[in-house]
């Protein structure tokens, strides 16, 4: 346990150093505002993919409706900041609570379904959430919610992302997380071993949804206007792609997946007509050569890095 804490601390220091470096580059004007915006997007996508990974990768429940929860967090957040002038932190927490509560309510009945049936049910639920939002005139309906203050800064995204990573990493390594992994490996065996499968499936789903809500809040306050069109099932696919590309069941993988997908999309912005074709080919090729994702189940932890350095020292 002691070791784990030290491990966390080293990671935290590393994180803060990375933040200082990037923030320094931003302040010095070395990163153009386009790439700054994409840094925000990378951070938000990391939160989305890590939280989806908890559901899909660690618990093995095939969810295709993650963008719906993001939408809930986004809309709850913007109503609070724009119409009630509350600070961003309140908006994020309320968004998390809203999305988490909805995740709980939805998860309870639907998580009895398995495999592809669960996939289509969650896809449907994500679409239902979006369509309901689209029909609420108070939040602008299909045309979108306008005049959102630009509150998301790099610091916000980075530290919320760091918090998400620590939370999910520790959850996965806790006894709850072990129960989730047991469900992924074999649900019937897990049940036979006394794991309350419904409880842990719903728990993972709720936590994942709540973090998607937080990501939604950050996303909404970066772009002045949000519309239901940003939260279609295509967006859910995009987050799923990040998770699978990085490796189901690997937090490092989710970070890498979110980074690669966002980066490819931004870097190809100069060739709009070929962007999607190249993206599609990259996706097919990556799956061809790394069907288990970039990282598979592997994690890069500083413990491993130290091991490697030590080993190299000995050789």
């Amino acid at each position: 346990m002691n070791f784990l804490r030290r491990n966390d601390l080293i990671m935290l220091i590393f994180g803060i150093a990375l933040f200082a470096l990037l923030q320094g580059l931003i302040s010095a004007g070395a990163i153009s505002s386009f790439w700054q915006l994409n840094l925000l997007l990378i951070g938000i996508n990391v939160i989305m993919s890590v939280s989806l990974n908890l559901i899909n990768g660690y618990t093995g429940q095939f969810s295709l409706g993650h963008a719906g929860f993001m939408a809930v967090g986004a809309y709850v957040g913007v109503v609070l900041t724009t119409n009630f002038h509350l600070p961003l932190i309140v908006a994020l927490l309320a968004g998390a609570a809203g999305a988490g509560a909805l995740g709980f309510l939805i998860g309870l009945p639907t998580l009895r379904l398995r495999g592809d049936y669960l996939a289509i049910a969650t896809l449907g639920l994500g679409e239902i959430i979006r369509i309901v939002i689209m029909n609420i005139q108070y939040v602008g309906g299909a045309a979108g919610f306008k005049g959102i203050p630009h509150l998301t800064t790099f610091a916000w995204v980075f530290f919320v992302m760091l918090f998400t990573l620590f939370f999910i990493k520790n959850f996965v390594n806790s006894s709850h997380g072990r129960a989730c992994i047991a469900i992924r490996e074999n649900e019937i065996a897990a049940e036979a071993m006394g794991v309350n499968t419904t409880k842990y499936k719903v728990m993972a789903f709720t936590i994942g949804a709540a973090f998607a809500g937080v990501a939604g809040g950050l996303f909404a306050h970066s772009f002045y206007l949000i519309s239901p069109a940003s939260f279609t099932f295509m967006a859910s696919f995009n987050y799923l792609i990040m998770v699978v590309l990085g490796g189901l069941g690997s937090i490092t993988g989710s970070i890498a997946g979110a980074f690669v997908v966002t980066f490819i999309s931004a870097a190809l912005a100069n060739w709009p007509e070929f962007r999607m074709i190249i993206y599609a080919l990259a996706l097919i090729l990556l799956m061809f050569y790394r069907p288990q994702g970039l990282f598979g189940y592997m994690e890069i932890t500083n413990a491993k890095i130290f091991d490697k350095i030590l080993k190299r020292g000995r050789e």
Partner: protein, 390 residues
């Protein structure tokens, strides 16, 4: 396995190199030579709205090509950098930011769809980059809470004007007493036109008896049309884009709806006739910006046909108009001082663009006339010409 690993490494190396290259290329673009004026086009090139964005972009490219062929702006060539909004509001902020920060454009034309322009306008204002939106007809595009956004302009008329024109036409010229509306609830354009039409039509003594909604990209409209048929109204108002309009008119006639169908400038594409069929389009009217047989519009239509080998639609025409307005302003103010360029766009007066003569008003809207066209046996005819409001 060994081969696989090698191939994998090669592939990742190739992709990595390409991406890095793209980043560097992006940096290289920054140093635009001094004999060029860099302007950005930010349109819906992929995604659901790609056909509208691409049409606008084609019109704009034609205007710029003509200007460059004629010697450019005071000796400087115009360089156009294209960006893609992916048909999404958040992404259009992203692509506009790229144009401004990485490509260092002096002015942006686009996007086509209202919501995307509104999303983009804050970034453009913050960075003092003027925007001309070709086809965003919603009043909120250039005005926010009663104040005019200093850097945002458009090259089309606004919804209230068009909605009023059609409602008055229905009440006065067609003597309609009752109307039904079929609105695209996914677009601001359609919704605000519906609102204006209803207000004006009811003020003129008519009554809107039923309203139904559809969503862009729908294919089958028969269920809602069956319902609208029961209202037995004199006219049906369908403010929408041409893809859906063609199908709506076709299916409405198949279901036996004989009422006059009214529309707006979103109808203005030769494809509507192909999709709906000539017979179905009898007894329909729509308002738009110009009539293809107008003397004024001929040079543009000829040039467009020569360049792209097809007839322009309204989006292409408005993209061309936006290009013409921009070129005029650049000629007078140059591109170095955004404040001067902004003032030059504000000062556009009696400028001959592709479809009409325009003057920019205090709300940054061009003062333009409108026409109402009738389609009869597959041919469009001028029904009424409405002089610009001064």
């Amino acid at each position: 396995m060994n081969f696989k690993k090698k191939a994998w490494k090669l592939a990742s190396l190739a992709i990595g190199t390409m991406l890095m290259g793209s980043m560097l290329a992006g940096c290289g673009d920054q140093a635009a030579s001094s004999d060029e004026i860099v302007i950005g086009s930010n349109f819906e090139l992929t995604g659901n709205q790609a056909n509208y964005g691409n049409a606008c972009n084609e019109g704009l490219k034609l205007a710029i090509k003509e200007a460059n062929d004629a010697g450019g702006i005071n000796g400087k060539k115009i360089k156009l950098v294209e960006a893609d909004t992916k048909s999404e509001a958040a992404e259009s902020v992203n692509s506009a930011t790229k144009l401004i920060s990485d490509d260092k454009v002096k002015v942006i034309v686009g996007p086509a769809v209202t919501a995307n322009v509104i999303a983009e306008s804050q970034v453009a204002t913050d960075n003092k980059v003027p925007v001309i939106a070709p086809a965003a007809t919603n009043p909120d595009v250039t005005v926010e809470n009663g104040t005019v956004k200093p850097f945002i302009f458009r090259s089309c008329f606004i919804d209230p004007q068009q909605g009023t024109v059609m409602a008055t036409f229905a009440a006065k010229d067609l003597n309609a007493k009752t109307a039904v509306m079929y609105i695209d609830s996914s677009s601001d354009y359609s919704k605000s036109l519906g609102k204006v039409f209803k207000e004006t039509f009811e003020a003129a003594g008519g009554k809107v008896v039923m309203e139904e909604a559809f969503l862009a990209k729908d294919q089958d409209f028969k269920a809602a049309l069956t319902k609208l048929k029961t209202a037995n109204a004199d006219v049906m108002f369908v403010p929408a884009y041409y893809e859906e309009v063609g199908k709506i008119v076709k299916q409405a006639r198949e279901l036996g709806i004989t009422a006059t169908i009214l529309g707006t400038d979103g109808w203005d594409d030769p494809k509507v006739i192909d999709i709906a069929g000539a017979d179905a389009l009898n007894n329909t009217y729509f308002s738009t910006h110009y009539f293809e047989q107008d003397e004024e519009a001929k040079p543009f239509i000829e040039a467009y046909k020569k360049e792209y080998n097809k007839n322009p639609n309204v989006f292409a025409a408005l993209g061309y108009d936006a290009g013409k307005m921009l070129i005029d302003a650049l000629k007078r103010a140059g591109a170095d001082d955004p404040e001067a360029l902004r003032k030059a766009i504000e000062g556009i007066k009696d400028l001959q663009v592709g479809t009409a003569k325009v003057t920019v008003d205090k709300n940054h809207n061009p003062i333009k006339g409108a026409v109402i066209l009738e389609t009869r046996n597959g041919e469009r005819m001028m029904k009424t010409k409405i002089a610009p409001e001064q």
